[in-house]
C-alpha cells in the first residue's frame, strides 16, 4: 500500500470507515451484508454488491448480496468468469473492470442470478477473491442496478483501496468458518456413538455430555457452548443427574466403577484424565477428565448394517442382533416366533456368511462397529 500515490484524504476517511465495517463482517452473513450495503452507499449511482464463490478449504462459500435476493443460492465450484486466457494472469486481490468481454454475460452466475433480476453484466467492478489455476472462483462484484451506470474514478479508487482488506476479511471468515465446522463435526461424531461420553472439570462437574450419555443420565445433551457464556443452570442440571446416578456427591476419578443397584441397571464407567500441556492450567481445570458410560442393557439396531456388511437376510440379521443383545438362541427363537431348530438353521447361515463359528464370536462381530454406532437420526 505504501508504494501507491497518496489519494486525497476524503476518500481515505471513507475507506477507513468501510474497513471498520469489513473487520466485523466475517463473523456472520449479516456482517457481510452491512459491509455490502455500505459499499453500495458509497458508489456514485444505484448499485448492487455481491460476494460470491467457492473458497476451497472452507467448503461452499456463502452467497451474500446487497440489493439482490440470492435466495440462499449455493455456488458449487463454477467459474465466475469462464475460461478467458487472460484470467490466469489476473492476481487475487486485483480489480477487473466489467464487462470483461462477454465473459460475465456467458457465466452461470449471470444466467442464474443476475439476468433474472434484470441486472446488466456491466459496466461494473469485480474484485478477485479466489481463483483456481484456470479461472476466478470467488469475487466481490459491484454492478449497476440498471443499464447506464458507469463506475466513477472515485468508485474505482475506493474499491481498489478496499480490495486487500476484503481478501483478509475473507481469510478470517474462512478460519472462523472452518473452526466452527470442525467443532460441529466433532460434536456430531460423538453423538453418533452408542457409548456415553462426558467431559468433567476438576470438580467433577459435567462440561459436556454426548447424546448417549445424556440419555443414560436422563438429561438434555450438552454441547460445548462456544459463543455464549455456558449456562451454569445446564451444567448444574447435568452434574446433578450424574450425581444422582452415582448416588454420591463425590465422583471419584477411578476407572471402572459399575454403577447401579436393584432398580437401575448397572452402567460401566471408565474414566481417563485428559492430558494438557504444562501451560494450559485453565483448560486442564475445565476439561480435567473424560468419562465413558457403557450400558450393558442397551440395544442398538445394527440389523441394517449387518445386512449391508455380510449380506444377511432380514431373519439372519434379526437373529444376530438378538444374540448380540444378550439373548440365548432359545430366547431368540421364542422372540422371533420360530422353532428352535429353525433358529439353529438360521444361525448356521449367519455363521457361514460372517465367517464365525461360535455365538461368542458373532456377538463380538456385531459389537465391533455395527453395534457401536447409532443409526442416523435415531433418537
Amino acid at each position: 500500500v505504501s508504494g501507491a500515490p497518496e489519494p486525497e484524504p476524503g476518500v481515505l476517511v471513507h475507506v477507513a470507515a468501510l474497513i471498520e465495517l469489513l473487520f466485523d463482517a466475517p463473523s456472520s452473513p449479516a456482517g457481510w451484508q452491512r459491509f455490502l450495503a455500505a459499499v453500495c452507499e458509497e458508489m456514485s449511482g444505484e448499485t448492487v454488491a455481491l460476494l460470491i464463490g467457492d473458497l476451497g478449504e472452507a467448503g461452499p462459500f456463502w452467497t451474500v448480496a446487497h440489493g439482490l435476493d440470492t435466495g440462499g443460492l449455493a455456488v458449487e465450484r463454477f467459474p465466475i468468469l469462464g475460461g478467458h486466457p487472460g484470467e490466469a494472469q489476473m492476481p487475487t486481490g486485483g480489480v477487473v473492470p466489467l464487462p470483461f468481454g462477454d465473459r460475465l454475460a456467458r457465466s452461470d452466475l449471470y444466467h442464474r442470478l443476475l439476468a433474472p433480476a434484470g441486472i446488466p453484466p456491466g459496466p461494473g467492478l469485480l474484485v478477485i477473491l479466489g481463483r483456481t489455476p484456470a479461472a476466478i472462483s470467488a469475487a466481490l462484484l459491484v454492478l449497476g442496478r440498471a443499464p447506464g451506470w458507469q463506475p466513477s474514478a472515485r468508485d474505482r479508487e475506493i474499491v481498489e483501496l478496499l480490495s486487500p482488506y476484503v481478501l483478509r476479511a475473507i481469510r478470517t471468515g474462512m478460519r472462523l468458518h472452518a473452526s466452527r465446522a470442525e467443532v460441529e463435526g466433532l460434536l456430531q461424531l460423538l453423538d453418533a456413538l452408542a457409548l456415553g461420553v462426558l467431559l468433567l472439570d476438576d470438580r467433577s462437574r459435567v462440561t459436556f455430555a454426548n447424546r448417549s450419555a445424556a440419555e443414560l443420565l436422563d438429561t438434555t445433551p450438552g454441547p460445548l457452548r462456544l459463543e455464549a457464556t455456558p449456562s451454569l443452570a445446564d451444567r448444574e442440571q447435568r452434574t446433578q443427574a450424574l450425581r444422582r446416578r452415582f448416588r454420591t456427591e463425590a465422583i471419584t476419578s477411578t476407572s471402572g466403577a459399575a454403577l447401579g443397584d436393584d432398580d437401575v441397571s448397572p452402567l460401566q464407567v471408565i474414566t481417563a484424565p485428559l492430558e494438557w500441556e504444562e501451560g494450559d492450567t485453565e483448560l486442564a481445570a475445565r476439561f480435567a477428565q473424560v468419562m465413558f458410560l457403557g450400558d450393558p442393557g442397551s440395544s442398538r439396531d445394527s440389523a441394517g448394517a449387518l445386512r449391508a456388511l455380510y449380506g444377511l437376510t432380514p431373519a439372519e440379521a434379526r437373529l444376530a442382533q438378538l444374540l448380540a443383545d444378550g439373548l440365548s438362541i432359545t430366547e431368540a427363537a421364542e422372540q422371533m416366533s420360530i422353532r428352535l431348530s429353525t433358529a439353529r438353521g438360521v444361525l448356521k447361515g449367519v455363521f457361514a456368511k460372517t465367517g464365525t463359528r461360535r455365538q461368542a464370536s458373532l456377538v463380538g462381530l456385531v459389537l465391533a462397529a455395527a453395534g457401536q454406532i447409532r443409526a442416523p437420526g435415531e433418537d
Binding site: D24, A37, E41, L55, G256, E275, L283
Partner: protein
C-alpha cells in the same frame, strides 16, 4: 458496550447512517497510508500470538523506536482462555501463572473508558499494577507517560488492552500517536473478539479430539476435499496409518496419509453403505461404517469442514484391554483376566487354553468362575458385557501426535 458499531437495524437502510457515524468519528483525522497498512496486519492477528507480535512491531515502527508496544489479556472469567502478554521492543514476556493483569487499575465504568477507548496512563498508578511491577518494569520499560487502548472489558474490569510505553525515559507520546491509536482502537476491539472466538473453537476441537483418541473404535474424519483430516489411535493401529489431526491444508493439496487411505479403500467408494475391508496385515474382514457430517450445513450459511466420519470395527482386536478394570470391578484374577481377553479377541476356549499353556478342563473351570464373578452364563454374554463399555475404551491414554497448527503459521 460490547460493539463499536450499531448491530441492529435493517442493513439496507442503516448503511448510510453507519458510514456517516463512523466518518463523523474519524472525519477530523487525517488518515495516512500507514494506518491502513497497520490495519492490514491487524486483520491477520486474530487466532495467533505471532500475528499479534507482527502487528505490535509495525505499530512500534509507526510510533518511535524509543517506545515499546505491549498487548495483554487476562485469563477469561470462565477459565477457558489463558492470560497472554506479547510485546515488541522488549524481550519475551511471560505471564506468571494465576497473575491478573490490571488489579490496581481503577475500575473505570464502561461509559468513561469504553471498549475501544484510548486512555493516558498515569505513571504513578500504573507503576503499582502487577503487569508493570512483575513484567514490564523488570523488562526495562517506564510506567509512563504512555497510552493504553482497551481491547476488551466487562462491567468491572479491563480484560485486554494494548499499551504504548517508553523504553527511554525521555520519550513522550505525541498528539499524532494518540490520533493513530484512536483510529486503530475500534479495530483492536474487534480483533480481540475474533481472537477469542478462534481460540475457543480451537480448544473445543482439541478437547473433543482427545476424547475420541481414547476410543477403542477406530475413527477417521474425511474433509470436504476427501482428505483424511483426523485418524484416531485405534484406527491408526488397525489400518497402519499415521495418527493425528491435520489442520487446514492448502486447497487441492494431497498428502501421503490420504493417498495411503485411498489405496486401502479405493478411490470411488460408495460411502452410503457399510462395507467390509480386509485387515491390511492379517486379512480378516474389518467393518467400515460411515456417518455423514454434512447435516451441519446451513442454507446460505456455513458449509462443512468434515465430510464424514468413518468408524472402523475390528472383530479380533487385541487392544483395549481393561485389565485393571476387570480386577477392580469383578475381582478377576490375572489368569481369569487373560482368559477373558483371549475370548474377547475371538479365540475359542480350546485355543485360549493352548495359548495360556493350561489344559482345557482347567480353562473350563476358570471360565465357570469368570461367569460367576461377572454374573454371566455363556461366552456370548461375557463378550457382550465387555463390549458394551469396558472394551470400548483404550486402557491407557497415549500421547496423540502433535497437531500441526497450520493455520497459525505466517
Amino acid at each position: 458496550m460490547r460493539g463499536v458499531l450499531p448491530h441492529s437495524g435493517d442493513a439496507a437502510t442503516g448503511a448510510a447512517g453507519v458510514i456517516n457515524e463512523i466518518t463523523r468519528r474519524v472525519g477530523g483525522l487525517r488518515i495516512p497510508h500507514r494506518v491502513l497498512s497497520l490495519l492490514e496486519l491487524l486483520h491477520e492477528a486474530p487466532g495467533s500470538p505471532a500475528g499479534w507480535v507482527r502487528f505490535l512491531e509495525a505499530l512500534r515502527d509507526a510510533i518511535s523506536p524509543d517506545c515499546a508496544t505491549v498487548f495483554g489479556a487476562m485469563p477469561s472469567p470462565r477459565g477457558d482462555l489463558p492470560g497472554i502478554v506479547v510485546a515488541a521492543g522488549v524481550g519475551p514476556l511471560r505471564l506468571p501463572a494465576g497473575a491478573s493483569l490490571f488489579p490496581s487499575v481503577p475500575h473505570l465504568p464502561a461509559d468513561v473508558l469504553p471498549e475501544g477507548g484510548v486512555w493516558e496512563l498515569n505513571p504513578a498508578r500504573f507503576e503499582q499494577s502487577m503487569l508493570f511491577r512483575d513484567m514490564l518494569g523488570p523488562a526495562g520499560l517506564q510506567p509512563g507517560p504512555g497510552l493504553c487502548v482497551v481491547n476488551e472489558r466487562d462491567d468491572g474490569f479491563v480484560r485486554a488492552a494494548t499499551f504504548v510505553l517508553p523504553r527511554v525515559a525521555s520519550w513522550r507520546p505525541t498528539a499524532a500517536d494518540r490520533e493513530l491509536l484512536e483510529k486503530l482502537a475500534p479495530h483492536l476491539a474487534i480483533a480481540r473478539r475474533l481472537h477469542v472466538r478462534l481460540t475457543e473453537r480451537r480448544q473445543a476441537t482439541d478437547v473433543l479430539l482427545k476424547a475420541i483418541d481414547h476410543l477403542a473404535l477406530g475413527v477417521l474424519l474425511v474433509d470436504a476435499e476427501g482428505r483424511l483430516a483426523y485418524v484416531n489411535r485405534a484406527a491408526a493401529e488397525t489400518l497402519g496409518l499415521p495418527a493425528g489431526f491435520r489442520g487446514d491444508p492448502a486447497s487441492g493439496e494431497r498428502d501421503a496419509r490420504s493417498e495411503a487411505w485411498y489405496r486401502l479403500v479405493g478411490a470411488d467408494r460408495d460411502w452410503s453403505r457399510p462395507f467390509v475391508l480386509p485387515h491390511p496385515r492379517e486379512g480378516y474382514p474389518l467393518q467400515l461404517l460411515s456417518a455423514s457430517l454434512r447435516a451441519s450445513e446451513r442454507p446460505g450459511g456455513f458449509g462443512v469442514r468434515f465430510e464424514r466420519a468413518v468408524f472402523v470395527g475390528d472383530p479380533k482386536r487385541r487392544s483395549g484391554e481393561p485389565i485393571g478394570v476387570l480386577r477392580e470391578i469383578y475381582g478377576l484374577t490375572p489368569a481369569e483376566t487373560r482368559l477373558t481377553l483371549l475370548l474377547l479377541a475371538d479365540c475359542s476356549l480350546a485355543e485360549s487354553a493352548r495359548l495360556l499353556g493350561i489344559t482345557l478342563s482347567t480353562a473350563r473351570s476358570m471360565l465357570k468362575r469368570i461367569f460367576e464373578k461377572t454374573g454371566t452364563n455363556r461366552q456370548a454374554a461375557l463378550v457382550r458385557l465387555m463390549l458394551s463399555g469396558f472394551a470400548q475404551v483404550r486402557p491407557e491414554p497415549g500421547v496423540r501426535e502433535q497437531r500441526p497448527r497450520a493455520r497459525e503459521s505466517p
